[in-house]
Assembly symmetry: D2
Homo-oligomer: 371 residues x 4
């Protein structure tokens, strides 16, 4: 796997930032799924550049094209191929970075690993634009999850040093996130988050941040021991997003400072069903979902590309030099990452859901869901 | 993949805590590797229970057995199968947890996912004892890495609320970690870490902690875009260790609060070779190693099993009850996790190393290493 | 995959002919399957050497050992590990073949591919003894199939130039195959098949033959387009048996000489259900089962190892020489292959059955069997 | 795997016969490969319908489009995506076959497995047109093989009951195959093969045939024991071609009637190198290439779709009926299969070649080719 993700519900992504298109082949979608193309287009629009002063000036329509797998509006059972074209391509600023890597950027490793053959324009397949492929596939995954009553909620909880203050409900996320440019569910912190980004931009600099994801309606029993715990597969997916450098589930790093009596969640019985006293486990015990919402947070480093002067090297001449990056870049990618995290979380949960079903040992020809 | 890890260098683990044995089949080891069995036995001994008052009282010899794949002391190219027997088995305390899950533990999810068929004794294949399989396979992986000049250093940097204070060098790790029971490289913090564990134990409670891993001598170019970044595959591996709830690479969560100009590392030229001004990237750019040491930290939650009374449910009667866990458990698994993290890191890096080699496009029949 | 077969129901085989043991790890067995160990032991006994003058004189008890995955007689959902020990090991005759390959044998390719590291004793992992691992795993698979009403029937239809004459029913196979040493379902051809083998043995030579497999009770819809057709996956499995050099489904090579109007099978309606006018398709249309029995035949070459003098080369001296093979070999492996074909067919069908089940697109949490 | 083939050099095919396009994503092509697009277009042209009275009247330009992975005429190391559009689409004749399956055709199994969601037009992804995707990917594979001195030769050796008579050399294949419409290398049999097809067509019927493939220049050591023998992976690939019902390697079915002393090939020394006395093994011993050309033959059943009246069933009404198939079909697909077999053989050998390379156990950072 490299351009492929998933075991049962599989993605194969292709394309480059300044090539013909960005696309994805989805294998494993059950035949008969009604695929709402408008819904997927809306998800793409949420990720699209050019929408606010806080993001890249690149202007792309990102119009969804269906290349295969959908017939009479439904999944056929064959591979679903979706793509968007690259239209607003300006490769002029990249001639330089081909040999003079931007600090903190994949320029260096791409040039070594793929030599002169790497399509360096717009960072080729190392571009953040590749995440549009995740969003397209995530659109299909979300429609599957929806049919199973599972929902994914994502919001920004930190931009630079500004954090959300109030306790956020899923209702807050649903109502507020896509109503503001920083994708915060806490209305009170929007303006200070926005100003962190604006100030960084004015300084020719960038900022990082933290995104939180909550997945509700999830059945007990998803996740596979030993090596495909929910944490393993979700983290594997999330670190595929450029700029992610950390992830924690439930109480995470804070929990490592606690005692067991404080950190353990107790099962309780509510209306004859098992629920949990609290959710420090992030909905996962022994790598397997326990029925509580799956909760994780991911840390994004500040965007590597900045216009401030930085020291670097010229790989041809093998001498030190400086660079002031040009091109159209986001001073903070965290808000645009929100629909991407949502998509990858949905894709990963669908895969776990499909892996959790197997034929009965009793010969009834059916399947056995964990609950 | 569930009991299988890796693409080129693959592990298939098997066994249960109170079954016949714990074992691992390793596929993909190059023929000819000299396998030093004593070295692997020493690694197993470092993970073994029964060695100090801080760990489980279970007493196991954990004597390594070779079932296949080694001939005249070298790898044959076939699957290498290694195992240890389970000898000191006492399943008496587990009859209860079969239906009365310990809070924070896999008891609950295992009972739902695998129903009454789960081998609940000693937590079956959810047991931390399964990590002995990682250590055995890691022993083989480390011998391969050693031949490539790559080394893995792991140490405990936090137990409960006690952190290491001084800046740790790899020399400190090499010298100190296995000389003290808490696996700290900072001699000054050993006693307070130890007392955190002892106090928790006295209280019938447990503590968590943080482990850091550094991998040196790593070539530029390991890691596969898009979905098998170094971060993706290492986190996938690390979350296979029971109790891990967070991971961060380089500056990680702290980096998310910074600006790009501060967080970016600049390449510099030292003696005609590229090095790095600092290492906030944790040795990884665009998901691919940049030649600097790979650095990550993982957060362990406090051990779920404690002898303090906790509320839980009886799954048969579907009513609330309490539990005071018996059995032989570690008040803190963090020190014993050190050789496990070391093993899994080695296994994962070997896999990336083997994936990085491909036939030439020019027909010389050879391979192309990234550098 | 190399020592691994299957996608959902997976085998990982290990061991060598003269090493410690031969074993298999089975991943994907549904928890709760009642595993009848005696049944598997009986299957092993059918494959065992030493049973008749027609087969190798090696005498092995082949006593089944369970290393993991079975608890209270049922599958736990974890990996099932089964093994047999190698007891009657005599490696003396192999010192020679390490450098002087037997014509027609893997000696040559093993020595080149694995160099001096290959465990050449008894042909190491190239030994036919590895097929005992298939039989062990097949025993588990057959118990699963049995619960789904699927049965596998295998019989020898040709030894050397002697073919079965009468039309064979599955009843003939069930009644006769394991009642005679050549594994023929046609009682009238047993003695001439037997004499083909005896004569070859007397001449220090060997013979080949053909085995037919029929799988009944199979549902419509197994097999995955495009690359995992039933023919693709069954042939992939069957060519894993040493000595297999050809396979054909339904009318096979004979069908290639026909016209479509003759070769096509027509669906008919019998008691309100679809059946087929005849079965030249071998139960497979478009790579997918059509409900008729799956039928295929596989061609075995004559055993490579013979005691007659043959010309070969000495790989160390790089000069031509001759060899008269010693050791305990079968003059015809075809009869002993019968339980092996049965096992691999069962394993492959179980895998296809498990792959055919997926979550509903409608959210009912269940699965969708093809019929 | 279903729409995916390969381990290191991977294909993901997509599209439908009457959908937007047919395409393929290729993962694993080494960066730097010079990709000659004209060469691939020529291969596509050899498979294209509409070229002779013997083949389907569907007229498609099959103009190759590059969607990703090629930059400055060379492979980038990212996924290479190639496609052709479907232009001459006429779905009118398929409304009927949606519920009234053609005997011998995937119509029936597709309708059961994928229910009403199957894109039945032109047989959707069950169409022979999908093999254009193999040809596109094969074009890339052949350029890689070419750089390694490996060549693939394919020719028709039987159409219906007409077989080639003379002993064919690779020179004959190279010179003659694409110079005649039946793809025979034996000029003397062209006209009788052609007349078999013409007569079948006149009768509203179809014929089958046999194709032979020879792969030269192949190194010793390709193929992976136990489950990925050269025979296993090549047969897996070949049965992905619609209509293939049998395969044999070397002496194949004929060899099963022989004695070992006759069938075994002896190694000999020619100019200080090992060659083989003859090639009944088809270049494969113990599942691994022995340096002799890999040789196999595949049997194609007669085309299922014929215009003669045949009995079948109406799946909606569940009653028997008859069908006289309309539409544009090949009376014999065997000649058009030649470039498809060539492509899949090339793809499979490249994959084996890439799998045969691994890092040294000695730490030289390089690879170890088997020879």
């Amino acid at each position: 796997m490299t351009f492929t993700l998933g075991i049962e519900f599989k993605l194969h992504v292709f394309g480059e930032s300044h090539g013909e298109c960005i696309g994805v082949v989805i294998e494993g979608c059950p035949p008969g799924l009604l695929v709402d193309i408008n819904q997927i287009q809306q998800d793409l629009d949420k990720r699209k550049p050019g929408g606010s002063p806080l993001v890249s000036a690149r202007s792309e329509r990102d119009k969804l094209r269906i290349l295969s797998g959908i017939f009479e509006e439904r999944a056929t059972g064959g591979p679903i191929t979706l793509s968007i074209e690259n239209l607003d391509v300006d490769s002029s600023s990249y001639a330089k970075t081909r040999y003079i890597p931007r600090p903190g950027h994949a320029d260096f490793t791409a040039a070594i690993k793929y030599k002169e053959f790497n399509d360096h324009r717009g960072s080729g397949f190392f571009s953040g634009r590749m995440t549009a492929a995740f969003v397209m596939a995530g659109g299909v995954a979300k429609q599957l999850l929806n049919n199973h009553g599972i929902k994914v909620f994502v919001h920004v909880i930190q931009i630079g040093t500004t954090k959300t203050k109030k306790k956020i409900t899923v209702h807050d996320i649903e109502e507020n996130v896509y109503e503001n440019v920083v994708r915060s569910a806490d209305i009170g912190t929007i303006s200070s988050m926005e100003s962190e980004i604006v100030k960084a931009k004015e300084d020719g600099d960038s900022v990082g941040g933290i995104v939180e994801c909550r997945i509700t309606g999830i059945p007990v029993g998803l996740g596979e021991p030993i090596f495909d715990s929910v944490e393993s597969v979700l983290s594997h997916s999330m670190f595929s997003i450029p700029g992610v450098k950390g992830i924690e589930f439930g109480s995470g790093f804070a929990g490592s400072r606690r005692r067991g009596s404080e950190n353990n969640d107790s099962p309780i019985i509510v209306d004859g069903k098992i629920e949990w006293s609290k959710n420090d486990a992030g909905g996962i015990l022994g790598g397997i979902t326990n029925g509580a919402p799956v909760i994780f947070r991911i840390a994004f480093k500040p965007t590597a590309t900045i216009s401030k002067k930085q020291s670097t090297v010229d790989l041809r001449k093998m001498q030190e030099t400086t660079i002031e990056a040009k091109g159209r870049h986001d001073p903070c990618i965290v808000p645009r990452a929100v629909p991407v995290v949502e998509a990858l979380a949905a894709i990963t949960i669908v895969d776990l859901l499909m892996r959790n079903t197997f034929i009965s040992h009793k010969g009834n020809g059916g399947s056995r869901s964990a609950r």
